[in-house]
Amino acid sequence: MKKKLPFYLIATVVVVLMLIALNHLWTNWDAARELSNALAEKDAAGAPMDDGGTLEYREFPVIGSRVLVWMIAELHLMFAAFVLAVPMFAVIIEFIGYYTGDKRYDDLAYEFTKLLSTSFSFTATLGAMLTFALIILYPRLMGYLVNIFSWTFLPYVLLFFAEAGFLYSYYYGWGKFSPKVHLALGIGLNIVGTGIMFIANAWLTFMNSPAGVTETGALISTWDAINNFTWMPINIHRLIANVAFGGSIAAAYGAFKFLGAKTDEERAHYDWMGYIGNFIAIIAFLPLPFAGYWLGKEIYAYSQTLGIVMMGGTFSWLFIIQAVLIGNLFLGANYYLWVSMERIEGAERYRKAIKWLLASITICFIVWATPHSLVASIEEARKMGGAHHPILGVLGVMSAKNTAVNVLILTTYLSFLLYRRGNKEATHPRASLLKNIQFGIFSVVTIFVIVLGVAGYFVDATTRIGFSVPQVLSVLFAMISIAAIDVFLFRNAKSKGEIKWGQIKARAQYALFFLAITFTWLMGLMGYVRAGLRQHYHVYGIMEDTSAHAFTPTLGFAAGVVSVTVLIFFALIAIVFWLSSLSTKKKWEPKDASDDVYGLAEEARS
């Protein structure tokens, strides 16, 4: 009874918190709905019809058409990201198994792939729901987009068919083909999946940065409409982000199975699976901020106004929420590595470094989450001498934030390096020299990043923005060169002990869940800002949103919609996990003769 009390206490607290949140969400929702209704009434005279007498909008009851489309689109995107990401790393893991001859990798790749078939069905269903919702609720917008992109629909559908063919032959053909043929199927699956994503990205990026059309929106070139300013940056950003997201969900699956494992063997397997999933997620996550910079730069290049709405206007505070999420991702990823080191014999010698790594992450997190200007009461602002805090204001600018994120990346990389060499002792004849070179690269790059960050305060804006490039390149250089040296350094290394897979604390598994939830929430938030940037435009600068939902809601409201979407996603992913687990369940056996309609018991006896 004593043991159960905290659990029920937590459950009660959760229920109370949920009720408070729902009440708050409903109040927000009510306010937004009231506003929509008021605007709809006001525009009732002519807004629903365009000049040609075509219906422009239809309204969805209770939650409104915008929130409905928003949630379905997010859910579709989350599942699509997962379905596109898993084959990428499944093929790589399968190849590692084929190359090294280690069957464990092949089994792991198969286990990841098992998650795909249900997810693929969910993705397709949500995609169909999204299409129907858009056609029914936003007929004018869809009419326009169909006119612009009509040529892209046929290849999209054909690729979708090809995706189904590759996916199911890859899954059901596991062990049925030669490894080379099977790997080729996996590569084909990835190619068509990427093609599908690129086409869909053209539609949505056109809405943000239209090209290939006249000022009034008439089509000049479909290819230019596809190859608009933000198309390729979004393609690359999504490709990397999908892998990070997919890895985190696969790691959560490992954690889910670990916690329910009955034997040491199962625990060891799922511990390893969680580790590999998380490794994939973090490796993909590290370069993601750089892809984000590129996307941001292209948004500014397309339209200064759009860029300023994003970073200095309506959405600037959204990036504080993003900073909290990304800070938590770094913290969670490092925490998992530190706890994981407890199962490596010999890794205890690195334990003393954890406090310094934690200090570095905490400082960088604080800097990154510091807003540029503070919202304060009149009295507070008066005492402070303005909206910018005299000390903290210095940390709120881009120079400080860029430096912080680069140091965060370096710190996480260092955690991984320590984890990797936990049970290894270098036997290379020049081990000492190589270690010194690694230390030298790491130190010089860290100092270089910090010096550029400080110098950013003393130069003009253009030079300051330019500093972010050498900062990023130097960090990439450090990661690649140190990794390359590590390969030589630990070749034929002496083992200081073994990795005891499965002997890991349950809290490490919760760190994996935490990372998966945070990745998903972050994805929902960034999806919102990408679409919300257009504000009262469906197609920026070309087609205005004249519906009752043309206003941009509060960030609190957006956070509510994202949260509900994330919870629905995890409810659906729980179904995926459960269905994937069925294949390893024992076969059903009749309890008595009346159940034994197929004569299975008799058959077994004979």
């Binding site: 106004t305 300023i308 929420i321 602002a381 043309a550 957006a558 956070a559």
Partner: protein, 266 residues
């Protein structure tokens, strides 16, 4: 089963945490600009007032021009220097060019990038741009445009470009003293006599500042600071009470007229 329930609770708690973070940042609804018909017989003061509203609202000008040292040149004093920016080009022509074709002439030390004001997404029409020119001339100079002024770009903007939209601003019937009280000016300024509080007394502000300076001191309080007073306080205060979100053009005019009439009892 217990594991599944614990994972479920953990998922709810983590999501709730992020939802909570989302509630802690400033909450603001951004509305699409509203349409407004501009009369052909607007007075100069009315043009300045509407111009100020566009510059601070629909035009999104202050996002880049708002502060000295910002992305684009500050608009402080632009009315005084516009005539001498390009040799042989009149003040009105220069300001019109900078709005219709902003990247043709770039001020030294800055990069091109300003969008054309008469095209989407800003979409000002010719009449609105005339009002913006009046406002800009009033920044350190004297407005010379009227609604009938024509320049090289007249007719370039489509009549219905954006439909003559300006930021929404509710009308009110408050008088000067009521506005001063509503926006908590009295927390920092005295009005009933000389003597300084956190800010200088408004008792005789009409002797020290003309209407243009009063507009400027309200729209951009840190542009010209009275000696001995800290920058940022008034802006933070007005932000804090939602002055810039709530004040209508009518209230702004009433407030400036009222302050201009404060001549120390004379």
């Amino acid at each position: 089963m217990k594991n599944a329930l614990t994972i479920f609770i953990f998922t709810i708690l983590t999501t709730l945490f992020y939802w909570y973070v989302g509630q802690q940042v400033p909450q603001k609804v951004t509305y699409p600009p509203k349409k407004l018909e501009l009369r052909d017989d607007l007075t100069t003061d009315e043009m300045i007032e509407i111009g100020a509203e566009i510059v601070n609202g629909k035009g999104t000008c202050q996002s880049c021009h708002g502060l000295p040292g910002g992305r684009f040149p500050s608009l402080d004093n632009v009315g005084a220097i516009a005539a001498s920016r390009i040799e042989g080009m009149s003040e009105v022509e220069y300001l019109a060019e900078s709005l219709y074709d902003p990247n043709k002439f770039i001020v030294d030390g800055y990069l091109p990038g300003m969008p054309q004001a008469h095209k989407a997404p800003i979409s000002l029409n010719d009449k609105e741009i005339l009002c913006v020119i009046a406002y800009l001339q009033n920044q350190g100079g004297s407005p010379t445009v009227s609604m009938q002024t024509s320049h090289s770009f007249t007719g370039t903007a489509p009549e219905d470009a954006g439909g003559g939209q300006v930021a929404a601003a509710p009308a009110s019937n408050l008088d000067g003293p009521a506005i001063v009280e509503t926006y908590l000016c009295l927390t920092c300024h005295k009005v009933d006599g000389p003597g300084d509080m956190v800010g200088p007394s408004l008792y005789d502000v009409g002797n020290r500042m003309d209407k243009a300076a009063l507009y400027e001191s309200l729209l951009d309080p840190d542009a010209t600071l009275t000696e001995g007073y800290a920058g940022g306080v008034m802006k933070a205060t007005l932000d804090g009470v939602g002055f810039y979100d709530k004040v209508s053009s009518k209230e702004m005019k009433t407030l400036v007229d009222y302050l201009a009439s404060m001549k120390g009892g004379n």
